[in-house]
């Protein structure tokens, strides 16, 4: 294991960061396409299939069009670039300008601490203790929770800076929803931390060597997932960004690419929180044969993120929206006590296990 100078560590972090960011931005673009097509298929229709396709001419029948619609994200991006970009009169110009950035940047920052693969060596480079933009951050979980909380600023400021009644109401209600569910989210993150004895995300993944934490505390996984859905304003908690209610909420005064940035923030957070869920509960990059072939770790975590995204889209297709007061009631009166109960139970379980009274084969 070589010792690197600080400059080399920083350079490596920048390069890995660029790779991961570009990969996730492509992933975000195709997540929008996945959402549209999967949502369409769940509703017995075809999603967008005209934007780009591979034509295969057939004799006698209509030509076959493969991968219909794979250029749809590019088409959407081009459309957003060309739309008019208005600024409302008497809006706070500086805040209006930076609010979308304040929404997007935390969404991407969470990716800094996610372990994408286990330790491996590529020629002269060795990625220990795990492959991430910032490996070895020993307060990884705290970092994630803190950055998620900063994401609320972008939305509250966007609502405020738009100088419009609907936007302000939407922004305030959205921030209230987000901070209420952050509480349940933070509490549901505690069981994996207690089971792994560390806040470092890489250590948490390593601690799932024998058994995934979702098996040990499924309630915490469920609460984390529901809290994440509410944090992202996804269905069934998306009252505040629905077009029918509150005329699109806090983004009503944002046009073109600024709206695109909020859109991007939502989908990047979807990917980031799916990755955190995979790391905390579903074993991250662990899977069969990952010790022998470390590159399989990438495949496993991407597969888990993909399945989690499909689950989010499936839930969106199936459930009606919660009204705002039902949403707040659920967050404070149901989810928060359940989260407290779940981590108390995990604590009791750990003590009993250490005292030898509870014998669970954890596999290591």
């Amino acid at each position: 294991m070589e010792t690197l100078t600080d400059g080399q560590i920083a350079l490596r972090a920048v390069i890995v960061g660029l790779i991961v960011t570009f990969a996730v931005i492509t992933g975000f673009a195709y997540t929008t396409l996945l959402e549209r097509k999967l949502l369409a298929r769940l509703q017995a229709r075809i999603g967008p299939n005209r934007a780009g396709y591979i034509p295969i001419p057939r004799k006698g029948k209509r030509e076959l069009r493969l991968l219909g619609g794979f250029m749809q994200p590019a088409a959407d991006a081009v459309k957003l670039f060309f739309k008019e970009d208005p600024t409302p009169a008497q809006a706070d110009k500086f805040v209006y300008f930076i609010a979308p950035m304040l929404a997007v940047i935390p969404a991407i920052l969470i990716l800094a601490v996610i372990p994408w693969a286990g330790p491996f060596t590529l020629g002269k480079l060795s990625f220990t203790p795990y492959f991430a933009i910032a490996p070895g951050v020993n307060v990884g979980v705290l970092f994630v929770l803190a950055i998620t909380s900063i994401g609320v600023y972008g939305i509250a400021l966007a609502g405020w800076a738009s100088n419009s009644k609907y936007a302000v109401l939407g922004g305030i209600r959205t921030s209230a929803q987000m901070i209420s569910y952050e509480l349940a989210l933070a509490l549901s993150v505690l069981p994996p931390v207690m089971l792994a004895n560390s806040l470092d995300l890489g250590q948490i993944v390593e601690a799932q060597r024998g058994l995934w934490f979702v098996v040990l505390n499924p309630l915490a996984a469920l609460i984390f997932y529901i809290g994440a859905l509410a944090e992202l304003q996804r269905s069934p908690f998306d009252l505040l960004e629905a077009e029918q209610e509150l005329s699109a909420g806090y983004v009503v005064e944002y046009g073109a690419m600024r709206f695109g940035m909020f859109f991007m923030a939502e989908y990047m957070k979807m990917i980031s929180l799916s990755a955190i869920a995979a790391v905390l509960f579903f074993g991250g990059y662990r899977g069969p044969f990952v010790d022998q072939v470390p590159a399989l770790g990438f495949v496993y975590i991407i597969l888990k993120i993909f399945l989690s995204l499909c689950l989010m889209i499936w839930i969106r297709a199936s459930m009606p929206r919660l009204r705002y007061d039902q949403l707040m009631q659920f967050g404070w009166k149901v989810l928060f006590p359940l989260a407290v109960a779940s981590f108390i139970m995990t604590g009791i379980g750990i003590v009993l296990f250490e005292e030898g009274l509870l014998n669970i084969n954890l596999g290591f």
Partner: protein, 168 residues
């Protein structure tokens, strides 16, 4: 509560494995009904003469004022329709037309009929005016007079409608 949520999710999952109900237009067009009111046609008799006599009852009946008719007198050298008059100018403004079919109901000779085409887009306002040439249909095979105007013997057509067989 969770049971119902899971039942709902099972229903949507079922749709994932069923074929979608989308008709992929324009590759596959849905057939229209029998009395579908599409683009107008100016019909001819079986012998090839135009049915339209230029009475402009259709223009009077049109609620959107979309039809413009100018009548002129048939001569035996240049005969368009049996009878005294024909429509020398017949224009329908497709931007005004509401496809209600009142012109079809008002026509005494069943000349103007709404057909089944609905792909009627145009690229400028002038393209919205459908003239008589665009609306008049071709003579059916077996017609004596293939193209109007025709030159006929004086006295052949003295009634407004030609001799026709009774419908069976």
């Amino acid at each position: 509560m969770f049971g119902e949520i899971l039942k709902g999710m099972a229903t949507t999952l079922k749709h994932l494995f069923q074929p979608p109900v989308t008709d992929e237009y324009p590759e596959k067009a849905r057939p229209v009904s029998a009395r579908f009111k599409g683009r107008h046609h100016l019909h001819r008799y079986d012998n090839g003469l135009e049915k339209c006599i230029g009475c402009s009852l259709c223009a009077a009946a049109c609620p959107a004022d979309a039809i413009f008719v100018e009548a002129a007198e048939n001569t035996d050298e240049a005969r368009f329709s049996p009878g005294e008059r024909y429509a020398s100018t017949y224009e329908i403004n497709m931007m005004r037309c509401i496809f209600c079919g009142y012109c079809e109901d008002a026509c005494p000779t069943e000349a103007i009929v709404l057909g089944r085409e609905y792909e009627l887009s145009f690229t400028d306002r002038a393209g919205a005016l459908y003239t008589k040439e665009m609306l008049l249909e071709q003579a059916k095979p077996g017609a004596i007079y293939i193209n109007t105007p025709v030159k006929v013997e004086p006295g052949t057509f003295d009634r407004a409608i030609p001799d026709m067989e009774n419908p069976k």
